[in-house]
Symmetry: C2
Subunit: 495 residues, 2 copies
């Protein structure tokens, strides 16, 4: 009592490779259900007798009975003793196919919310999955002591057992918070205790969380100009009114902020090595901003994203450690010091913000994966973190030196390198008359990644240039890529 086409449709379902893992009776049940849902078998239509369908499909009658029983249990068919099985009357149901035809007349836009649409149009924060020169912000994962890490994880799991599989403290595992507090106190001159640390998945999450817990849509906050795009997008997505403040070679021009007559809720800073210029925020400006924040009950959001890697002398202490008024939120991450796939970042908070931020975090995504937190705590406690950072600092310093020399040698016609005191990337300013977009497109065509600088500025008068990430590439890879880039740029200039 199936039409030929219906029988064919059921047979097609049975042999479809995507359904190979399902038991036969499930495949038959699904195939018939699909006919019903699609409207090909309308309400009241009689189904073939199980014996007849078993014959047509060359399966046992039991298989058909099992499929029918399931369809019945789900309410798709009625079974009447002595007269057979019928598609149930589902009164509210306009079958899919009919409704689908109406649908095609409608506009096919995804109907996102206003804020969802704004996030979509921002393009989000995409990272390179397989970094190639000169993608920025990526550490060298090839030098990571993975076997050691695995050994520590095994130790941790042996000791903690199934306890490590349970829900974790949303503020973060206590041993890790302690290790982080010790580290930022010692290496970054912070004033932290384990109680004031909240473990997150990334600095991106820290920025999103702060933006929501501390600010409402329309609130004004000062940001650096040029600025780290991830921060800008997080604040925009939260509906904040971002006010760009120019950066010079001593960092953000703090006097513009302290002299601004309008109320603002915060300033976002990358004081160690400003992103993207590399400038270190000068002490007087730090102190001026600390006083401004205290006076206006505003916040300083300090993103200390790659301060582990400082190549010229000791790095300046972080703003948080200088701030006696608890107006600074310190953001750190292990993405650059260890590896991006780890997904551990953190904030050091003023005491009275710890609870509100932790609670907001439970609403966002609960907590950070426990095993990784405990392994990292062990890695830090045993001194491996400090050792790894020191090793990588040496490797990266050398790579920066190699890159600078190669740029001077091969790209002198095009750019002026601005060797930074730290970090994982070097800004280069275009000097030779080539436009930024031409240079970046030419590089892209030969498989070289450059992040244009002008798009990081708020206005149209941003400086033309690009960032060259160097940390993830060996000197040999850097040399090959610089030569390839030089070749590509020469070619477009003469074209």
């Amino acid at each position: 009592m199936f039409k030929h086409s219906q029988l064919e449709s059921v047979k097609a379902w049975l042999v479809h490779p995507a359904h190979a893992a399902m038991p036969l009776h499930t495949r038959i049940q699904r195939a018939i259900r699909q006919l019903i849902v699609d409207g090909a078998l309308g309400p009241g239509k009689q189904l073939p007798a199980s014996r007849a369908l078993a014959g047509s499909l060359e399966v046992s009658r039991d298989t058909i009975e099992t499929a029918y029983a399931q369809l019945h249990a789900e309410g798709f068919i009625d079974r009447r003793v002595g007269s057979g099985s019928f598609v149930a009357e589902m009164k509210e149901f306009t079958s899919g196919r009919r409704l689908m035809q109406r649908d095609t007349l409608r506009d096919q836009t995804p109907n996102l919310s206003k804020r969802g649409d704004a996030m979509f149009r921002s393009g989000g924060v995409r990272e390179m999955l397989t970094p190639r020169p000169f993608a920025h912000g990526v550490p060298d994962t090839r030098s990571f002591p993975l076997l050691l890490w695995e050994r520590l994880e095994r130790q941790v799991l042996k000791e903690a057992g199934s306890q490590a599989l349970l829900h974790g403290d949303p503020q973060g595992a206590e041993p890790l918070r302690r290790a982080i507090a010790d580290y930022v106190n010692l290496e970054r001159g912070a004033h932290a205790t384990a109680d004031r640390v909240v473990v997150l998945t990334s600095s991106q999450q820290a920025m999103t969380l702060c933006a929501h817990v501390l600010f409402d849509p329309g609130d004004r906050i000062f940001i650096e100009d040029p600025v780290y795009y991830g921060a800008r997008k997080a604040f925009d997505a939260a509906g904040l009114d971002c006010v760009p403040v120019p950066v010079d070679h001593q960092g953000i021009m703090a006097e513009r902020i302290t002299a601004d007559p309008h109320k603002a809720k915060a300033v976002f800073l990358t004081p160690s090595h400003q992103f993207p210029t590399g400038a270190t925020l000068e002490l007087d400006r730090r102190l001026a901003l600390i006083e401004w924040a205290a006076r206006h009950q505003a916040w300083i959001i300090e993103d200390d994203y790659d301060s582990e890697f400082h190549y010229a002398g000791r790095p300046t202490a972080c703003v948080q450690g200088l701030d006696p008024h608890d107006r600074t939120i310190y953001i750190g991450t292990f993405t650059k010091a260890l590896f991006p796939g780890l997904r551990i970042g953190y904030v050091v908070l003023p005491p009275h913000l710890v609870k509100p931020v932790t609670i907001a975090r439970t609403l966002l995504d609960g907590h950070t994966a426990s095993i990784a937190q405990l392994t990292l705590a062990r890695f830090m406690e045993a001194g491996h973190f400090g050792a790894h950072v020191r090793t990588m600092r040496g490797i990266y310093a050398k790579r920066l030196e190699v890159l600078t020399a190669l740029v001077r040698e091969h790209l002198a016609d095009f750019v002026e390198p601005q060797t930074p005191v730290g970090g994982l990337q070097m800004p280069c300013m275009l000097t030779g008359g080539l436009s930024e977009s031409t240079a970046i497109a030419a590089a892209q065509r030969v498989g070289i990644e450059l992040l244009g600088l002008s798009a990081l500025y708020a206005g149209d008068d941003g400086r033309a240039g690009f960032l060259m990430g160097f940390a993830a590439y060996t000197p040999h890879e850097i040399e090959r890529a610089v030569k390839k880039l030089a070749h590509a740029l020469h070619a477009v200039r003469t074209a």
Copy 2:
């Protein structure tokens, strides 16, 4: 030239246990910096000569010189040849101590945003770190095959090497998305492909993400009444206007939604086993809601949070698989089927929402940890996931049986158990005149966790009762706890 108190303060810094890991010169530098920041050493003040300070502190002169050099590099002191070292004039800086005194006059509230304050007041979603009977929603992690998991992780790391440490696809690792699609198609009757899956950290993140991407503050959405508190809090935090719709023994009363004359953007459902009642949403209602959503271009948010554990026959297929119009967002999680500390959940999306949701996710927190994703994919591909779920289904079914029998035996004077067809907890309705708050408080006093039902209702007329989680506890633990609870309830009744 230090006052006695200043010298004592420096000495105290040197011997403080928290600073034990710092080199001596760093400790001295920090101690002096603190005196400056706190205002104890004002601008222009002369520092002791390095030889004199070395004598007072009983350290070498080189140590003092190193500390002074660092203070100079940071801009805290000026060094004048022939006349010594002086605290720098930092014109913008009002020292900490003085400002601190002004601060104490101010109100000490945390000045959160309106939305931050609302999140704070919601209390967030707290989970038990060490579950004890009868905490709900917790799986048995003691039965998890941890050694097998570790072995698969080692395999994955051996094969992927440092590639596994890099940034991952924000949509989720492709092998895991494929395994999830196969699983939900086979076991939940979904229509999924790897392209339509986005891997997240939890169902909580899925709800927060949907709330932001699809809805603006003030948008109306229907929710179940009673409702899962985590969903309600996520939607409230996103500023949505939640409209409660009563649930009866066939699930949410869909006719209230289809008959509602006011525009709404979505309905949130837990159709497999409604939280907390355990009701399964009946087929006619599913179909009615699918049609309603298609007609109004509204969304169905289907949280299929513990559908793996269905004890009576086969579970009904999910709503997503019945919806031919792509208006359903299916949310799944491994928190209950594997372990909470894993932090992997997912959504199956209509095709045109995949990009917007993935992009929004990069703004929230980037992506899910890669190693855990690849290990889980391997666990699923090799059939271990299916086997584990089957094992646990048997264990949990037995525990539910034990709990039901024990409640009937020992708690018949107080409650009527509502044995659910699936899930990890059983609702019990209070029948013996004891108030819900009295019962829960009495249980709490003897170390027993019960989640009250009435607070999950929108109005004040919610039914009195509590949820008893049973999955994480052995029959022996359940028996002991039920007897203890019976004893405690008898005691408060006779008191």
